[in-house]
C-alpha cells in the first residue's frame, strides 16, 4: 500500500479498499469519511469527543474520528461499522446479536457502539459486563438505557433473531437490520450532492436588540449566495405547535428573546460558510429574566400575555382546602426541577430542494404533517405544496416535534432554487432546541387515620421559556396527572406557564408529569413514614382501581392496572428491604436504600381530536404495502404497527412491505408523541387490516376462517377450498384506508371530564447506594412494573422501559441545562453506560377497553416513576431528602450534612 498520496489528497485503506481522495489534511477524519469518502455510517453527534458516535477503528484501535486530523490517517487502515459487519465475522455476529436483543433503537449511536465493541471482542479475553462497560463507556446512547447493548455484546453469536410473529411476539425490529449494518440514513446523511449550506446567525444574549451592518458587502466579500432575513419570509414569520400559540418567529425582528434565537441565516458553499468572517451585526444587550421569579414584573415577552403568563391549567374536585384542614395527617413540601435537554445523539438536520412550485424537504422529525403545515404557513404556500419525507430520526423524545432546521433550508431552497442543507452543531442544538420545563412545585396532601388520602393541593409554576411551543400542553396535562394514579376525593391542582428569556420549553417525554411526580411521590413516602405504614402498602391502599373516579371524574371499568403493578413489585420490594438492611448493618460509610414510586399517563392528546390514518394495498403482482406514517424514532412503531396490522389481516409480517411516513404517499398518522402511536395508530392499523381482510374474504366469497396467502398472487384457503382472488389494475388492486380517533370529552371549567380514553400505569422500585462522605449515588438495580394493557412486542416494551428509566436517572441525578453554561455534552451530563443499573421489567397486561388487542401506550410512562423512586431510595438510605434536582453529589452531601 502506498503511504504517499498526491498533494492535496489522502490515501488510506477504508474497510479493506485502498482509496485516495482529495481532502484538506487538517479537516476532521469524520468529515473526510462522511463527506469525501461517503462513509455515512460514521455519525457525528458532537464534534468534541463527548458522544463517541463517530468511533472508527484506526489501525485496529477505536478513536473518535471527529478528533483526528484527516492527514493523521494517511496510510492507516480505517474500519467503520458497515465495513466491519460486511467483512468481519465477529462484527456480523455482533450485528445479529444487536438485532436479537434490540440493542439498537433509533440507531444513531449504534455505529459507535458496535465499532467499540468489535475492538473489545477482537481483543479476546474474559467478557464481563464491566469489560463491556469500560470498552463502550465512550459512546453515549439516549434511547436504550444501555442494558440491551451490554447484553448484545456479551451474547454475540450466530443465533438468528426471531423474524416472525403477530401480536405478543418479541420479534426483531423490522427496520433494525440497516441500523446494525451501517445502511441507515439519518437527517444529515441524505443531503443532496453539492447542496449549499445554511448557517443560522443567533443571539449571544438572553435578550438583545440588534442592527445589521452592510449585509450586501458582507455577502460579496465572503462569497455567499444569499443572506436570509425576516423580510425574506414569504408567509407569516411565525410558527408553533398549539393553535393560537404560534408565537415563535423564524427570524427575530427588532429584539431577540433568548440566547440562541435566530436573526438571520447565510447560504453558501461549504467552503464559503466555513471560512466566513464575523457576521456584521451590532448587539445591544437588554435586561433579561431567566427564571419565573421576577418574570411577573419584567418586560413582557409577548404583548398580549400580561405578567408573562403564557397560560394556566386547573383541575378541581370536591373541596381540597376544607378536606386538608380536616385531615388528621398532612404533609407539604416544595420541590423543583431544572431544564432538561433531550440529548438525542443526532443533531437537527434537514435538506430541501425546490421542484417547480413545490418544496421537498428531508429531515429527522417526529411530526411530518405538522412540520408540513408549519412550513406552508411560513412560506405562504398551500400545505400540499410541501412534501416532508422524513429520514431515520436519531432520537427525538419530544423536541423533534417542533420545527427547527427545516424552515431555513425550505426558505433558502425556495429563493435560490438550489438544493440546500443544514445540520445543527451540538452547541446550536443545545442552545436553541426546546427543553423540559423547569418546575417549581408546592404540594400538600392530607390523609385520614387509616392512611387513606383525602385531599391534595398542587401548585406548579413552569418556566416555559421565550415561546409557547408545547407549554400549553404541559399546563393542561399536569393538573390532570398531579394526583398520581391514586384515589384523591378532594383535589385542586393549578399550573401556570411563565415566559422567560430562555430557550423555549416544550415537549419532553411526559409533558410535565415527571416533574409533578417528583413532588407527589416524595410526599407519599413522607406521609407513609409519618403514619408508620410500609410505603408500598400505603400506595396499594390508595391506588386507583377499576370503578374509581380519577381527579377529573373519569371512571375506568377496566384496565386501571396500577394495583397489579404495585402487587408485582411486592416480592422485589421485600427482598430489597431485607438486602438493604443487611448491607447497612455491615457497612458504615455507604448506605443502601430502596425507593418506590408510581406513575400514570393518559395516552394521546388531552381532550382533543388526534386521529391517525393507516393505508394498505395489494398490487396486481400480489405485493402487500403498508403505509405506516407513525414515525419510528427508535421506539418501534414500524414493528408494532406492522405486527398489529399483520394480526388483523391474518398474514405473516414477512409479507408486508413498509412504506414510511412521507406526506406525499402515506396518510397522516399524527405525531409521535404523547404515547399515542401504539394505541391510536395501532387502532387505525387494526381497523385497516380488518377492513382489508373483509374485502378480500368478500372477493373470494369465503368464510371468516379463511387463510390469506400472498405468494405472487392472492390465494385464500377455507377448509378444503382454495380460491384465487384476481388482482388487476394500476396501483393497488385492493386497498383499505382506516382512521381512528380516541373517544374523549372536553373538560369543564373545573377540569372535569374524560381527557383520555386510555391511561397507562407503572410502578418502579430502585435500590440505591449512597456514599455518605462524598454524596455520590450508585444505583444497584431497578425493577419496573408496567401495565401496557397488552404487550404487542414484549422486547420493545423492555426497550422502552429501560430507555425511559435511563432518562429518569438523568433527571434525578445529573441533568440540568443552564443557558449559556452547559451548551455541550461534557458540561451537560446524560447517563453513560456505567450509570444505568440492571433493570428488571415486569410486564402487566390488564387489557384495555379501547387499545388495539388491549394495548396501551408506554413511551412516557416509563420515565415518570424513575426520578422519585431514585430520590425515595436516597432518602431511605440516608434520611436526607432532595427537594431540588438534580441530586448531584454536592446536593446529596449537603442534605446529609444538614441532618
Amino acid at each position: 500500500m502506498s503511504l504517499d498520496a498526491p498533494n492535496g489528497h489522502i490515501g488510506l485503506t477504508l474497510n479493506g479498499a485502498e482509496i485516495t481522495v482529495p481532502a484538506d489534511s487538517t479537516m476532521r477524519l469524520s468529515e473526510l469519511l462522511r463527506e469525501v469518502a461517503g462513509a455515512k455510517d460514521v455519525k457525528v453527534g458532537c464534534n468534541a469527543g463527548d458522544c463517541g458516535a463517530c468511533t472508527v477503528l484506526v489501525d485496529g484501535n477505536p478513536v473518535c474520528a471527529c478528533l483526528m486530523a484527516a492527514g493523521q490517517a494517511q496510510g492507516a487502515v480505517v474500519e467503520t461499522q458497515s465495513g466491519l459487519v460486511a467483512d468481519d465475522p465477529i462484527a456480523e455476529r455482533l450485528a445479529q446479536s444487536f438485532q436479537r436483543h434490540q440493542a439498537a433503537q433509533c440507531g444513531i449511536c449504534t455505529p459507535g457502539m458496535m465499532v467499540a465493541a468489535v475492538a473489545l471482542l477482537r481483543r479476546g479475553g474474559a467478557l464481563t459486563s464491566e469489560a463491556v462497560e469500560d470498552a463502550l463507556g465512550g459512546v453515549l446512547c439516549r434511547c436504550t438505557g444501555y442494558r440491551k447493548i451490554i447484553a448484545a455484546v456479551l451474547d454475540a453469536s450466530d443465533t438468528a433473531p426471531l423474524a416472525e410473529g403477530g401480536v405478543g411476539a418479541p420479534i426483531a425490529r423490522l427496520d433494525g437490520w440497516p441500523k446494525v449494518n451501517g445502511a441507515e440514513r439519518f437527517g444529515d446523511d441524505v443531503a443532496p450532492e453539492g447542496a449549499l449550506v445554511v448557517r443560522v446567525i443567533r443571539s449571544p444574549f438572553h435578550r438583545a436588540s440588534f442592527a445589521f451592518g452592510d449585509l450586501d458587502k458582507y455577502r460579496e466579500d465572503n462569497g455567499l449566495e444569499r443572506i436570509l432575513l425576516a423580510a425574506d419570509v414569504p408567509g407569516e414569520n411565525c410558527f408553533g405547535t398549539i393553535p393560537g400559540f404560534e408565537d415563535q418567529p423564524m427570524f427575530a425582528e427588532g429584539e431577540t428573546r433568548f440566547k440562541g434565537e435566530a436573526i438571520a441565516a447565510v447560504v453558501g458553499s461549504t467552503e464559503a460558510v466555513e471560512a466566513m468572517q464575523a457576521f456584521p451585526v451590532d448587539w445591544t444587550e437588554l435586561p433579561s429574566v431567566t427564571t419565573p421569579d421576577g418574570a411577573g414584573d419584567a418586560a413582557l415577552l409577548h404583548e398580549n400575555r400580561a405578567g408573562n403568563v403564557m397560560c394556566r391549567g386547573i383541575v378541581r374536585r370536591g373541596d381540597a382546602a376544607a378536606a386538608l384542614a380536616e385531615a388528621p395527617h398532612r404533609v407539604a413540601g416544595d420541590f423543583s426541577t431544572g431544564f432538561i435537554e433531550h440529548g438525542y445523539i443526532e443533531p437537527e438536520a434537514a435538506s430541501a430542494i425546490r421542484v417547480g412550485d413545490r418544496l421537498e424537504i428531508r429531515c429527522c422529525t417526529q411530526a411530518p404533517f405538522m412540520n408540513r403545515d408549519g412550513i406552508a404557513r411560513l412560506m405562504g404556500l398551500a400545505p400540499e405544496a410541501i412534501r416532508i419525507n422524513p429520514t431515520a430520526t436519531g432520537g427525538g423524545f419530544g423536541s423533534k416535534l417542533d420545527l427547527t432546521a427545516q424552515p431555513y433550508v425550505a426558505l433558502a431552497a425556495w429563493l435560490l432554487n438550489r438544493p440546500v442543507r443544514i445540520t445543527y452543531s451540538r452547541t446550536e442544538s443545545l442552545m436553541s432546541s426546546t427543553k423540559r420545563h423547569p418546575s417549581e412545585v408546592h404540594m400538600e396532601i392530607g390523609c385520614d387515620a387509616e392512611g387513606r388520602i383525602t385531599a391534595a393541593q398542587f401548585d406548579g409554576v413552569f418556566n416555559t421559556g421565550a415561546y409557547a411551543s408545547w407549554g400549553p400542553t404541559v399546563a393542561n396535562r399536569v393538573p390532570i396527572h398531579a394526583s398520581g394514579p391514586y384515589l384523591t376525593p378532594h383535589y385542586e391542582a393549578k399550573s401556570v406557564g411563565i415566559h422567560t428569556n430562555t430557550a423555549p420549553a416544550g415537549a419532553f417525554r411526559g409533558f410535565g408529569v415527571p416533574q409533578s411526580a417528583v413532588a407527589q411521590e416524595q410526599l407519599y413516602d413522607i406521609m407513609a413514614d409519618r403514619l408508620g405504614i410500609d410505603r408500598l402498602e400505603f400506595r396499594l391502599r390508595n391506588c386507583l382501581r377499576n370503578g374509581d373516579p380519577t381527579v377529573t371524574g373519569q371512571v375506568f371499568e377496566r384496565g386501571m392496572g396500577i394495583d397489579a403493578c404495585l402487587e408485582a413489585l411486592k416480592p422485589s420490594w421485600d427482598e430489597a428491604l431485607a438486602e438493604c438492611a443487611a448491607f447497612n448493618g455491615a457497612h458504615e460509610g455507604r448506605k443502601r436504600g430502596v425507593g418506590i414510586a408510581s406513575g400514570w399517563y393518559g395516552c394521546g392528546n388531552t381532550s382533543i381530536s388526534n386521529p391517525s390514518t393507516i393505508r394498505a394495498g395489494i398490487t396486481a403482482e400480489g405485493q402487500l404495502f403498508l403505509h405506516q406514517g407513525a414515525v419510528d424514532i427508535g421506539q418501534g412503531s414500524n414493528t408494532v404497527i406492522t405486527q398489529i396490522f399483520a394480526q388483523a389481516l391474518g398474514v405473516p409480517v414477512a409479507d408486508i412491505t413498509l412504506v414510511g411516513a412521507d406526506t406525499d404517499v402515506t396518510p397522516d398518522a399524527g405525531k409521535t408523541s404523547a404515547s399515542r402511536q401504539t394505541y391510536i395508530t395501532g387502532n387505525a392499523a387494526r381497523l385497516c387490516g380488518e377492513a382489508l381482510r373483509a374485502q378480500i374474504l368478500r372477493l373470494g366469497n369465503v368464510s371468516n376462517d379463511a387463510v390469506i396467502s400472498l405468494d405472487g398472487g392472492l390465494t385464500l384457503t377455507d377448509g378444503e377450498a382454495t380460491v384465487t382472488v384476481p388482482l388487476m389494475g394500476e396501483g393497488y388492486a385492493i386497498e383499505a384506508v382506516e382512521s381512528y380517533d380516541p373517544p374523549t370529552t372536553p373538560l369543564d371549567e373545573n377540569g372535569q371530564g374524560d381527557p383520555y380514553a386510555v391511561f397507562g400505569t407503572a410502578a418502579q422500585l430502585c435500590v440505591a447506594e449512597v456514599d455518605l462522605a462524598l454524596g455520590t449515588t450508585k444505583l444497584i438495580r431497578i425493577v419496573a412494573a408496567h401495565d401496557v394493557g397488552r404487550a404487542i412486542n414484549p422486547l420493545l416494551v423492555e426497550g422502552q422501559v429501560e430507555g425511559g428509566v435511563a432518562q429518569g436517572i438523568g433527571l434525578a441525578l445529573m441533568e440540568e441545562f443552564l443557558p449559556g453554561r452547559t451548551e455541550n455534552l461534557h458540561d451537560y451530563l446524560i447517563p453513560t453506560i456505567g450509570d444505568v443499573p440492571p433493570i428488571d421489567t415486569l410486564i402487566i397486561e390488564s387489557g384495555d377497553m379501547h387499545g388495539p388487542y388491549g394495548a396501551k401506550g408506554l413511551g412516557e410512562h416509563c420515565l415518570i416513576p424513575t426520578a422519585p423512586a431514585v430520590l425515595n431510595a436516597i432518602a431511605h438510605a440516608t434520611g436526607a431528602r432532595i427537594h431540588h434536582l438534580p441530586a448531584t453529589p454536592d446536593r446529596v452531601r449537603a442534605a446529609i450534612r444538614a441532618l
Partner: protein
C-alpha cells in the same frame, strides 16, 4: 491548510518555529475549534521518531511527548505508577485514551487535567524543546494557571521525566457520572511504608485550585506516623494548599469537603497496595 507530519524532532521544531501549531492526539485541539476551521498550519507530532513511548532514563523513566494514555496503561511500570495508570483509565474514554497524549494533557493545562495530580506525586519534570534548545523544569512550575503554561512559541513538551520512585501509587477521581466525565475533584498519592510507618507520602489534588497542587503541609504531617493514624491527621487538616471555586460541576464548599474524603481513600488505597507489595 497543510498538516505537516515530520519524522524527526528537528524537522518538527523547525516547522513549529515557522509558526505551525503542534498537534498530538487532537483530543483538545479539535473540540476547542467548535465550529471554526482548523489552524492554518498543524504539525503532527505523533510520527516523530523517539517521541512516543515509555523508556528507562538512568534510574528513572522517560515518557515521550507523543505517548498516549493507552501507551501508559500498557507499559510495564513499578507500583509507584499505579496512580498514573488509574488516571489513564479515567481520561475521557477508551477512544480518548487511544489518541490523547499525556504531554497534551499537561500543555492544555485544564485545572481538571486528569494526568497532573499523579505526575505531581511522581515528582515529574518536563522537557521543553525548541529550535534554540531544550530546557527542563518541574511540572509544578510548568503549569502556571488555568490554561497557562511556560510553553513558549515554537516550543513543545518533548518528554516527561520521572525520577527513580519507590512506594505505591493510587488515584481517585470524583465525578457526577461514571464515564466521560470532568472531575469535581481528584487525588493522587504515592506512599512508602516501612514497618507500619509512613516513610514518605506524596499527595496531590486536582480540580480544587487553578492548578493541581501537592498537599505538602499534609505530607509533612504524615511522614513518620503509623499508617493507621492517617485518618485522624487528614480529618484535622484544613487543606490550605487548595483554593476551590464554584462551577457547573460543584460548589467550592463541597469540593473542600469531598477532597478530604478522597485524600483519605486514595492514601489508604496506596497504603494497602504498599503493604501487600512489601509483604
Amino acid at each position: 491548510m497543510p498538516l505537516h507530519r515530520p519524522e524527526t524532532l528537528s524537522e518538527a521544531l523547525s516547522l513549529l518555529a515557522g509558526g505551525g501549531r503542534a498537534l498530538g492526539g487532537g483530543t483538545d485541539l479539535y473540540p476547542a475549534l467548535r465550529d471554526g476551521p482548523p489552524p492554518a498550519d498543524l504539525v503532527d507530532l505523533m510520527n516523530v521518531a523517539g517521541l512516543r513511548g515509555v523508556s528507562r532514563d538512568g534510574n528513572g523513566w522517560r515518557i515521550g511527548g507523543a505517548t498516549t494514555w493507552t501507551d501508559i496503561l500498557r507499559a510495564d511500570l513499578p507500583p509507584a505508577f499505579d496512580g498514573l495508570k488509574q488516571a489513564s483509565r479515567e481520561v475521557g474514554s477508551v477512544q480518548i485514551q487511544n489518541a490523547g497524549t499525556v504531554a497534551g494533557n499537561l500543555c492544555n493545562a485544564s485545572p481538571a487535567a486528569d494526568g497532573v495530580p499523579a505526575l505531581l506525586t511522581l515528582e515529574a519534570d518536563v522537557e521543553l524543546s525548541s529550535q534554540t534548545g531544550t530546557r527542563r523544569m518541574p511540572l509544578s512550575q510548568f503549569i502556571t494557571g488555568p490554561r497557562r503554561t511556560e510553553l513558549a512559541q515554537g516550543e513543545i513538551l518533548s518528554a516527561i521525566f520521572i525520577p527513580e520512585t519507590t512506594g505505591s501509587g493510587a488515584f481517585l477521581k470524583l465525578g457526577a457520572r461514571r464515564y466521560l466525565v470532568i472531575s469535581i475533584a481528584m487525588v493522587a498519592a504515592v506512599v512508602e511504608i516501612r514497618e507500619g510507618l509512613i516513610v514518605s507520602a506524596k499527595l496531590a489534588a486536582g480540580s480544587c485550585a487553578p492548578v493541581a497542587q501537592r498537599l505538602r503541609g499534609l505530607e509533612a504531617q504524615l511522614v513518620g506516623k503509623p499508617a493507621h493514624d492517617a485518618a485522624a491527621i487528614i480529618t484535622a487538616h484544613d487543606f490550605p494548599e487548595l483554593a476551590p471555586i464554584d462551577d457547573v460541576r460543584a460548589p467550592a464548599e463541597y469540593r473542600r469537603d469531598a477532597v478530604a474524603a478522597l485524600t483519605l481513600r486514595t492514601l489508604n488505597a496506596a497504603i494497602s497496595k504498599e503493604t501487600a507489595h512489601v509483604a
